[in-house]
């Protein structure tokens, strides 16, 4: 028997074509919004991959900013103009940084993993802020309109060119993430979430699996950062701030971890909702996010993506639970007679 039935590639490809054609009917600012959403979806995808291994990071914006600043500094100091080269350099920076920090971070799980990442991202934030002479401090750096593959698009079509570039690049990387998920290392990452002891007793390396996944996640975020930098034309230290990392986590949970496509769905919904909600009431924006997150945690643990399964009314049995949030011992939950038990805290042993 061959591999297990895979989802048909036609649907995502069709969707991609639709997105590529969308600018024909959509207004400029919506196209811009979509560019941002697709780009950020890559960073979110990194968060999702790690979450599948049970690893939650509150510092993924570190690589997002690393990518953006690598591009920005390459323009300023190396006088690189070519957009594709900038993206390549960003990827290199993201992979390099995550490969270095991963050496330390990959040993940790749970709160340590979450907060070590947060800590490192805040260090970068501090560095970007304080080394004014190099990074421009709060002023940030400008990223002038780049030529792409040697071609210099005219100003009006630049937005469109960046949109197409973002879309194609994101599609390619999402496909790569999909391959990764279905690969031995991708599965081992999910196995680690279930049982690290067994992974080691199979002779596979828990550390190496997490390390590789971490570097991939870092690389994805750095490309996202550079794409955002090119689209917006300007970068600031805020890219590395904790709230940016929190946003990635939020979108990851919003979309769900059931599919590599979920981050795109989550990201697009997020960008549009934010666009309207933020204008409506800037002081309650985070509160809204917090409340939505609470609602997802308690009522929609699989995120928006799990709605697609509901819609099909056929959640495939045996499929990996998207973002497992039900108690590990599912039994007895149905008819928990001793009601206080269900509420009692987990053992500390």
């Amino acid at each position: 028997m061959g591999p297990r039935p895979r989802p048909s590639p036609l649907l995502p490809l069709g969707a991609l074509v639709l997105f590529l054609l969308a600018p024909l009917v959509l207004s400029g600012w919506i196209v811009f919004l979509l560019t941002v959403a697709w780009a950020k979806a890559l960073a979110v995808l990194g968060v999702v991959l790690l979450l599948r291994g049970g690893l939650l990071t509150f510092g993924h914006a570190l690589y997002y900013a690393a990518g953006a600043y690598a591009a920005g500094m390459a323009v300023k100091y190396l006088h690189v103009r070519e957009g594709l080269a900038l993206l390549g350099l960003a990827l290199l920076a993201g992979v390099g940084t995550s490969a270095l920090l991963g050496l330390l971070v990959a040993r940790y799980r749970g709160v340590y993993f979450a907060l070590l990442n947060l800590a490192f991202s805040m260090v970068l934030y501090g560095v970007l802020l304080k080394f004014y002479a190099i990074t421009g401090g709060t002023d940030g750096l400008g990223l002038p309109a780049p030529p792409l593959a040697g071609l210099r698009p005219v100003a009006q079509s630049l937005r469109l060119a960046l949109y197409d570039l973002t879309l194609v690049l994101a599609a390619l990387l999402i496909y790569a993430a999909h391959r990764f998920s279905a690969s031995p290392v991708g599965y081992t990452l999910r196995a680690i979430r279930d049982n690290e002891v067994r992974v080691e007793y199979m002779g596979a390396s828990v550390w190496r699996t997490i390390y590789v996944s971490y570097v991939i996640a870092g690389g994805l975020a750095s490309v996202a950062g550079a794409l955002i930098g090119l689209s917006v034309g300007h970068i600031t230290p805020d890219l590395s701030f904790w709230s940016q990392s929190g946003e990635f986590v939020f979108v990851a949970i919003l979309g769900g971890t059931g599919s590599v496509l979920a981050p795109v769905v989550g990201s697009i919904v997020f960008e549009f909702v934010r666009n309207y909600a933020f204008e409506l009431s800037p002081y309650t924006w985070q509160m809204t996010l917090g409340i939505v997150l609470l609602v997802i945690i308690f009522f929609l643990p699989g995120g928006l993506w799990s709605l697609s399964a509901l819609a099909r009314r056929l959640p495939r049995r045996g499929a990996p639970p998207p973002f497992r949030t039900s108690p590990r011992d599912g039994a007895g939950a149905a008819g928990a007679r001793t009601a206080d038990q269900a509420r009692e805290p987990r053992g500390g042993r």
Binding site: A182, S183, Y187, R190, R198, E200, A204, P320
Partner: protein
């Protein structure tokens, strides 16, 4: 001849609880050795020490003459020692076949981040192994749906799929009903003989030990108090008292 596994003077305390003291065990290639003893007599601790999960306070372990001090379970596994567990250690979020495929992928040492886990040679072999353990019907079900006995078998199958030189089994028939015990053991022993896998198994059931091991070690409070053929050893009054609590 060098022993396949040779433990000498192993000592391990948890606080003041003695789990192993001056434990010496020698197992040669091709043997099938049973370990008996009451709960807390140090049987599982011995398996944990032998596979590097715990480090001994004193003593050393040689694997085919090679000192395994300081090696992790992963490295010891890669040296050809596999292990099954008292409580099955499985990936509950994955399917039965995926559990098996991960074992095969790990054995091959070819992790890879691009080629799929589901690839023909592995899926074929995986299904074959599952079939031998009667788990074929569950292949594409999640492990969570497997009944307890099935989990136990899968746990052992995952270890055997690694094609080890030495297999350590922790209570292979615990949780298996009395009627099925011998059938399960027959299947297991068949596979082990065919793969010429040297085996050490911890067991509670004296009948099972009698029937399937040529040699039995009796553990009591971290000591080996008897070592020999099951017929003689298990007839010994002291042994029966230590293991069963009565002569």
């Amino acid at each position: 001849m060098t022993a396949l596994l040779e433990a000498a003077g192993l000592t391990k305390f948890f606080g003041a609880v003695r789990a192993a003291e001056e434990l010496s065990v020698r197992v040669d290639e091709g043997e099938m050795v049973g370990i008996v003893g009451s709960n807390g007599s140090g049987k599982t601790t011995f398996l944990n020490l032998a596979t590097g999960y715990l480090a001994p306070d004193r003593g050393r372990i040689l694997l085919a003459g090679r000192d395994t001090a300081g090696l992790s379970p992963r490295l010891i596994t890669r040296l050809g020692v596999a292990r099954s567990f008292q409580i099955p250690q499985l990936y509950l979020g994955l399917t039965v076949l995926e559990n098996m495929l991960l074992s095969l992928a790990a054995r091959s040492g070819r992790g890879g981040v691009w080629a799929p886990l589901y690839r023909a040679p592995w899926t074929d072999e995986g299904r074959q192994i599952l079939e031998r353990f009667g788990l074929e019907a569950y292949a594409s079900r999640s492990v969570g749906e497997l009944p307890e006995g099935g989990r136990k078998l899968l746990d052992i199958a995952l270890a055997i799929a690694l094609r080890p030189r030495l297999l350590l089994m922790d209570e292979p028939t615990a949780g298996v009903s009395t009627e099925d015990k011998f059938e399960v053991m027959d299947t297991l022993v068949g596979v082990l003989r065919q793969g010429r896998i040297t085996t050490i198994f911890v067991e509670h059931d004296m009948d099972v030990v009698h029937r399937y091991s040529r040699r039995v070690l009796v553990f009591d409070q971290g000591l080996v108090i008897a070592d020999g053929e099951p017929v003689t050893v298990l007839a010994d009054a002291d042994v029966r008292k230590a293991v069963l609590g009565h002569a």
